[in-house]
């Protein structure tokens, strides 16, 4: 992981709180049951009002009829809701530019765009989901993954011949051995599925909402 100076807005473990209104590409990780992740272009942090995110996208796994189902939904978040945030990080613009440049054109013919958000992989002893073999050799657009305690957002994921996911054009947010938050951009990330908590493929229709 090549470290990049990052803008940590909030970190509950390192007790970092940057008060103010922030705009840009912001990833917030929640400490809720479903380990959800919030993507947003704004966040407001203040001592009096806590966190306010308008028009964010929350991604994670829900329990529906005793089954865990992937979801991505638009949300307006404030601190009263029961999703305490572990950290919020603003991705530096130069990293975002690298990420933008590495994106595949929508016109690339062999890319699978899911219409609705779906779980590709979930490491859960009771409700395990593993569709990696089914999609072996395919290119899937817009994957979001939780890997140990790191978040990986990529433009596309390809399942290789061993059934392991290979992410392309990735933004990785995670903690180093000293628990410091780091952000990096990787053109390619080969991940062993044993360390993957979950992979969700974002549905294009749900992103358009």
């Amino acid at each position: 992981m090549s470290d990049v100076d990052s803008h940590i807005l909030y970190d509950s473990i390192k007790k970092i709180v940057n008060e103010g209104d922030f705009k840009g590409s912001i990833i917030s990780k929640c400490n809720d049951n479903c380990n959800s992740i919030i993507f947003s272009d704004n966040i407001s942090i203040s001592e009096s009002e806590g966190f306010i995110i308008s028009q964010g996208l929350r991604v994670g796994f829900d329990i529906v009829s005793n089954k865990r189902t992937a979801f991505s939904r638009k949300l307006d978040y404030n601190h009263h809701q029961d999703m305490c945030i572990e950290y919020s990080i603003l991705i530096p613009e130069d990293v975002m530019q690298l990420y933008d440049e590495g994106q595949f054109s929508d016109a690339f013919p062999f890319t699978l765009n899911m219409l609705h958000t779906a779980g590709l992989y979930l490491r859960d002893p009771e409700n395990k989901i593993n569709h990696l073999d089914f999609f072996k050799g395919e290119i899937l657009k817009n994957p979001v993954s939780l890997i140990m305690n790191g978040i990986l957002v990529a433009d596309r994921v390809v399942i290789d011949h061993r059934g392991d996911p290979v992410f392309y054009d990735c933004l990785i947010v995670g903690r180093d051995q000293d628990e410091n938050l780091k952000v990096s951009y990787e053109p390619l990330a080969n991940v062993d599925d044993k360390v993957v908590e979950y992979i969700i493929i974002l549905g294009i229709e749900e992103l358009k909402i």
Binding site: G24, S25, I26, I27, F39, S40, D41, N42, Q55, G56, L57, I91, M96, D100, Q103, D106, A107, N142, V153, L171, L202, I204, L207, K208
Partner: protein, 408 residues
């Protein structure tokens, strides 16, 4: 195995196969010419390049008599200024579909990849790179179209709004709708499309419609990273029709049909002139116009002043293309012969191979120069004639040479 140690004999044998090194005495905008300019013309092209580089928008007249090499100058300019989009248009040929023809030439000059880059850059400017939720590029075509209209609407006249809408739809569909990209690319390349295809793209006209082609051309030229040079050959064609009013008795008076003021020819040339002047207003477009005489230049200026006097300020001082000087014919001959030999796959051409101008000689070249008064086209015609004799007649080379040495 036959080994040609004698270069001259080998050259004669090659000529006897029936290939004339001097084939073309009229240069055209379609057939590429790699032969550079002769030394006496180097200052001309240097000052031409200087004017082009220093002026983002200008009209530069080049004046030269028939056959002095105005079109050949275009090829020399194109080869030297390869970092510009240089387009050749002969006004003789594009009375109809003026902007569409220029658009087609422009596309052919820049190629498909730069074209895709320019339209990609346009949609990015219109907001295609906006990140939904801070991360995801989910472009909303309708929003992009509205952004586009808001940003470029005021650059176009009221009667061009429908065409502008078509253009914005075409570009945003090409870049953002993967399901219609192939049809949109055909449209972008200027292909003629039927109503069914156009309605599938949600458009009214293809680029054969002049207004559409004009808007598209303006967007491409103004957003191209390279500057654009439009070389308008035979520009006097526009005023020739004006001067057709020369007192001549006509049995049929066109005013009976077309009204008193203007003849259809005049209306047509005014229309073309207006279009040329519209082009002149595009940022980054340099117009080079070629004319046969200074009188024509004055006529052109007069006609332009009738339409928009302010455009006269963008006229640069004309450059004059003169006839060959005597040393030019020798240089031209040697260059052309070397070029011919390279094209017929001659290897190891001796550096001093044309010192004596074989199979001709200096005396013949001088005679040709005198007979043609230094006019390059006439010179080439003479050379074609002599070489045809060398190739096809049964006379010996010595006899042919003597014949042309004698002619004064």
């Amino acid at each position: 195995m036959l080994i040609y140690e004698n270069f001259k004999a080998k050259l004669l044998n090659t000529l006897k196969l029936g290939v004339n090194p001097f084939k073309k005495f009229v240069s055209t905008g379609e057939i590429r010419e790699d032969l550079g300019l002769v030394k006496s013309r180097k200052p001309l092209i240097e000052s031409l390049m200087d004017i082009i580089e220093k002026n983002e928008n200008c009209i530069l007249p080049i004046i030269g008599k028939v056959g002095t090499g105005k079109t050949h100058l275009y090829w020399a300019l194109k080869n030297r200024m390869y970092y510009h989009n240089t387009i050749y248009i002969s006004l003789d040929e594009i009375y109809k579909r003026f902007f569409y023809t220029i658009y087609s030439e422009f596309i052919e000059t820049i190629g498909i990849e730069p074209l895709r880059n320019i339209v990609n850059q346009l949609v990015n400017e219109w907001g295609a790179l906006e990140r939904k939720f801070g991360f995801f590029h989910i472009a909303d075509i309708e929003t992009i179209k509205q952004n586009a209209i808001a940003s470029i609407n005021n650059e176009f006249d009221q009667d061009e709004k429908v065409a502008l809408n078509d253009i914005i739809t075409g570009i945003s569909t090409h870049q953002l709708d993967p399901y219609k990209k192939i049809e949109a690319e055909r449209w972008l390349l200027g292909e003629i499309m039927d109503i069914r295809e156009l309605s599938h793209l949600n458009m009214i006209h293809d680029l054969t419609k002049n207004k559409n082609a004009y808007i598209m051309l303006k967007l491409l030229i103004e957003n191209s990273k390279l500057g654009t040079i439009l070389f308008l050959d035979d520009f006097e064609t526009i005023v020739k029709t004006y001067t057709s009013k020369i007192e001549s008795e006509e049995v049929f008076d066109p005013s009976w049909l077309y009204g008193r003021e203007d003849s259809p020819d005049e209306i047509l040339s005014q229309k073309v002139l207006r279009r040329v002047l519209k082009l002149q207003k595009m940022k980054g477009l340099r117009l080079i116009i070629t004319l046969k005489s200074t009188e024509y230049l004055e006529e052109v200026k007069k006609s332009i002043s009738k339409i928009d006097e302010s455009i006269l300020t963008s006229f640069k001082e004309p450059l004059y293309l003169s006839e060959f000087i005597e040393s030019d014919i020798c240089e031209f001959y040697s260059k052309n012969m070397k070029n011919f030999l390279e094209n017929v796959n001659f290897t190891n051409i001796p550096t001093n191979s044309f010192e004596d101008y074989f199979p001709l000689n200096q005396k013949i070249l001088k005679n040709i120069y005198l007979k043609s008064n230094g006019n390059p086209r006439e010179i080439i015609k003479w050379l074609i004639k002599i070489f045809n004799e060398i190739i096809f007649s049964d006379q010996k080379l010595l006899e042919i040479r003597e014949k042309y040495e004698m002619q004064q």
